[in-house]
Point group: C2
């Protein structure tokens, strides 16, 4: 049996057809809500195109990245809508997932389930190496990854490079429990292009790089490409680690295959894929590429650096991450394991 | 910190309000599709109430079990709609998940991701005991669990009790790769009430019972209640195992708490909760209660009975399950672990 046959109902796994699906998403009807006119602090017209529509009073997430399906949340109130230099930004109060941040029509976080993503993308890499001291975060403008990095007492300095200042500002205004990460004195925030930032970073200067990006069809496109991974490898110390947002096993095996192939070429330490449950992400899961550079061995599946709960009281207790779920995240379904292992070895 | 505080954004976890949410779901507009009139082999009117609506041409899943959110699939063609003595039954061809089976407006399986559910609910119990010989399946009318049980060469007899013959017939007609389970000569299908079947079952007669039920608001309601679990325990041999569908950690912690409490009282062996990813189920995950009766110890987290791939070639290779993902399924997020462990001990 070849890899394709191993995928669940492989014949049904359609690739986005950009010519019609993108238009379809853009043409989706506008959203209506029971709330009054949108907040005036955005510079958008009343019904931005990024509001892919739905049932009246609901937000619906449609994208060529996941054709033929949509996840919808009931809207109680639109709190913000604006257009930055890079993307459409929306915040709304949902009926059952708390406040929701949407970029270019795609849910980035909800108050109810953001813990899973933020804790896993951060602690999978940082708990896999002893005493991380210098950390770089690319993207992650909401501040949630910073909140999690700050739990590590060993960390001395956190550089953060986010391209879109509006995301930072909106998070500080509407998601104080996420943006609390910015209050840590170890954080150095740079508003700018992560690709350029990494090119100029001193060689071998970071213990860990965390790439908290949106999908590869928008401002984050370059963060999924080979030159970017090369810059990451260059900026890491020997035996340093990177963790990047790496899409869904159920939806994007072709993207994941490419990322794994690239990483296997570039990272001479270990190359691993992990995944976790995030209900409001497409297919309900999100994956991570975890790689290390040549140097001291990193065994990502067996964390060596437990979080000292007592040192992170100010950011509240961990809600999702623990050492068991860390190891479990690397156990993949057979259909994915077969493909990823064939690329990784 | 108490358990409630540990839950992600606990204040946002609203309980269904039956008085308005059920009405809301029932009142949802009917679905329109591009396809011609529905197949004539159902006895429903053109637009059954269980078709909670959406965007024209899409099926949308709304329920008081998950208020404020909906998952939608693009419909290519309605293949069947009927009303059995127990529930509304619909089959449609989706644009990206293959054929889809819907009962009372809730997705039961799609061709694309059914492997995850069927393989996990079956092999988590059967791979946890040596040489299962006699197995009882309650529910699971689609036949997928039978397909998976049949992979175990040690199994000599499979009783199956499904309440709704229409589900069996529809699966045989539209989901041959799922209903293939019925072709195994070890299967004894009984159309009837699982609760009554278990009451009449010989004491201590089964090595394993698998309860593949729908949600506890419909014909499956009793399958979540204490008398049912008592019947299951009675029907199992000492050290026998049960695996029941047990909802979502993200949505139904209150239901899960009750199930765990009941099971801890009734099953004197081990009591465990496991979960897995199923994209088309609400919140993208589904859980399982795994319990054993007093007798030989069962350590569910460490499977002792690997599947002999060579003995199950006729049903195709496993797509999802493997020994690693078996153990990983028992690793829970901190918010759930805290609640479940407090009830289980």
């Amino acid at each position: 049996m070849d890899a394709k046959e191993a995928s669940p109902a492989a014949t049904d796994l359609k690739r986005p057809r950009e010519e019609d699906e993108i238009n379809g998403a853009a043409a989706a009807a506008s959203m209506e809500t029971d709330s009054p006119a949108p907040a005036a602090n955005g510079d958008q017209t009343k019904e931005p195109a990024c509001f892919s529509s739905v049932i009246p009073g609901w937000f619906s997430e449609m994208s060529p990245m996941w054709p033929g399906e949509a996840h919808s949340l009931k809207v109680e109130k639109i709190l913000f809508q604006g257009k930055s230099d890079y993307q459409d930004v929306i915040v709304f109060q949902s009926a059952s997932y708390g406040k929701v941040l949407v970029l270019d029509g795609v849910i980035q976080l909800t108050e109810r389930d953001e813990c899973a993503y933020q804790e896993m993308i951060t602690h999978l890499p940082l708990c896999s190496i002893p005493n991380p001291k210098k950390v770089l975060v690319i993207g992650g403008g909401d501040g949630g990854v910073l909140r999690e990095v700050a739990r590590h007492a060993s960390v001395e300095h956190i550089d953060m490079c986010e391209i879109d200042k509006m995301v930072v500002d909106v998070s500080k205004q509407f998601f104080p429990n996420v943006a609390i990460g910015y209050e840590d004195p170890r954080v150095n925030l740079v508003i700018g292009d992560g690709v350029a930032f990494l090119k100029n970073a001193a060689e071998g200067s970071y213990d860990a790089v965390i790439v908290d990006s949106s999908d590869p069809i928008g401002p984050a496109k370059e963060l999924f490409e080979k030159p970017f991974f090369q810059s990451v490898a260059r900026a890491l110390r020997p035996g340093g680690v990177v963790c990047t947002q790496a899409e869904s096993l159920w939806l994007h095996m072709d993207i994941i295959e490419d990322i794994v192939s690239n990483c296997r070429e570039i990272f001479k330490g270990s190359v691993n894929y992990a995944w976790t449950s995030v209900p409001t992400y497409p297919s309900g899961v999100i994956g991570f590429m975890l790689c290390s550079t040549e140097g001291p061995d990193v065994d990502f599946k067996h964390p060596v650096n437990p979080i000292d709960e007592s040192s992170s009281k100010s950011n509240g207790p961990l809600k999702f991450y623990n050492a068991e779920i860390h190891s479990a995240a690397f156990c993949l379904p057979s259909f994915a394991k077969k493909v990823i292992e064939s690329k990784a070895n």
